[in-house]
Amino acid sequence: MTDLGPLVPRQRDMHPVPYDPDYKTSVPRSPKWPLLSMESTPSEETGPRFGHGVIGPLDNNLMLNFATDGSPAIGERILVHGQVLDEFARPVPNTLIEIWQANAGGRYRHIKDTYLAPLDPNFGGCGRTLTDDQGRYQFLTIRPGAYPWPNRGNEWRPMHIHFSVFGHSFGQRLITQMYFEGDPLIARCPIAATIKNRSQLDRLVAPLDMPMARPLDFLAYKFDIVLRGRRQTMFENRLEGL
């Protein structure tokens, strides 16, 4: 009998460093003491599930889901698609993905964002979807603009889309960012540079995916996501004290 076992421990060196002086806000917000490492329990192995009932038909279409007068958002029309897998390359079906992003000019619809670029009356900047039975997802949106932010003297974020993914376990919870192939600002970004492993950063850069682009309509970018896996062996049930 094979049991669904504990979550695979996170490889912390494959993630950003919590404390990075070049990203100033991380300085007072990063724990100083080591994390307490422990095998997962049902509290981390279970997690919220969301059904199709919560997803509206336009939720994954950011071009139209805030369109106040029926016309689409301004910007370069793109499809963002990919697959959610776990560390054992198993698809993660029916899991919620939420995204948020700036508009084509690099401005967020948020009271705290006072950048000069104008708001687009037809762009809200959020979307969500559930993966299908193969873990696949799609969003239709516009390419976000780069934007300046207060950090060092002249700091600009590369074009990016924020991703929030649930998986099936609370311990799989992940927030990350997708960047765009060829953006010269990626190499200058201190937030991207909190990831010290080069190939891990490269994996956040979505390639242009021409076969999936629709002629005369939209370009396409592919962004696959890998969540923590759960070990499956015959030996997962341990007796107390062993």
Binding site: L7, Q11, M14, H15, P16, Y23, T25, S26, P28, R29, S30, P31, K32, W33, L36, S37, M38, E39, S40, T41, P42, S43, E44, T46, P48, R49, F50, F66, L85, D86, E87, F88, A89, L96, E98, W100, Y108, R109, H110, G124, G125, C126, H162, S164, F170, R173, L174, I175, T176, I191, A192, L201, R203, L204, I225, V226, R228, R238, L239, E240
Partner: protein, 199 residues
């Protein structure tokens, strides 16, 4: 060369940034009309069994300042220790909640039912607790921690027992401030730093 492993590596985390609310709780961020309502407004519905409780607190940085832009998610079982979807679970308990620090005071508030005890993989019982996950600008990898309760027996909890510095155990225990009311502050760094989990 040994055989090749076909395993994948987990995608790297990145900070949720200052506008995490746009993606996770857009109505709270002032973006109305995209979704009918934000997800995870409450972990319980009317009629949920057990003791109703309210937990308030702040997320405090290393300088002592309460974050105004933190987003917190909580996950818990029902009052009998069953998670949503498990056989016999209370249908009025989804167990999942999203809440944000107030933009003026930095205070957060979670109203829920007191969770029941849940076993660990060893079969040992864990004391009642609520799991938390914290995302914010400046937090590069979301932080996991737990809320335990001052008025429960926490003496045999296997996670609390693993904390070597016993003076830090209290950072995971909500203080009772009244009937059904608790205080739980989360200190990201510095004096009284909360124990965060790699679990």
């Amino acid at each position: 060369m040994p055989q090749h492993l076909s395993n994948l590596t987990e995608t790297a985390s990145q900070t949720g940034g200052p506008y995490v609310h746009i993606g996770c709780i857009p109505s709270f961020a002032g973006i109305e009309g995209v979704y009918p309502q934000d997800l995870g407004l409450s972990p319980i519905q009317p009629g949920a069994l057990g003791q109703q409780i309210t937990i308030t607190g702040q997320v405090i940085d290393g300088t002592g300042w309460a974050l105004r832009d933190a987003l917190i998610e909580s996950w818990q079982p029902d009052s009998a220790g069953r998670f949503a979807g498990q056989p016999g679970a209370d249908p009025a308990v989804s167990g999942f909640c999203r809440f944000a620090a107030d933009k003026d005071s930095g205070e957060f508030c979670l109203t829920t039912v007191k969770p029941g005890a849940v076993p660990a993989r060893t079969g040992q019982m864990q004391a009642p607790h609520i799991s938390l996950w914290i995302a914010a600008r400046g937090i590069n990898v979301g932080l996991h921690t737990r809320i335990y309760f001052e008025d429960e027996d926490n003496s045999a909890d296997p996670l609390l027992a693993r904390i070597e510095q016993r003076n830090r155990v209290s950072t995971l225990i909500a203080r009772k401030t009244g009937e059904g009311a608790y205080r739980f502050d989360i200190r990201l760094q510095g004096e009284g730093e909360t124990v965060f989990l790699d679990i």
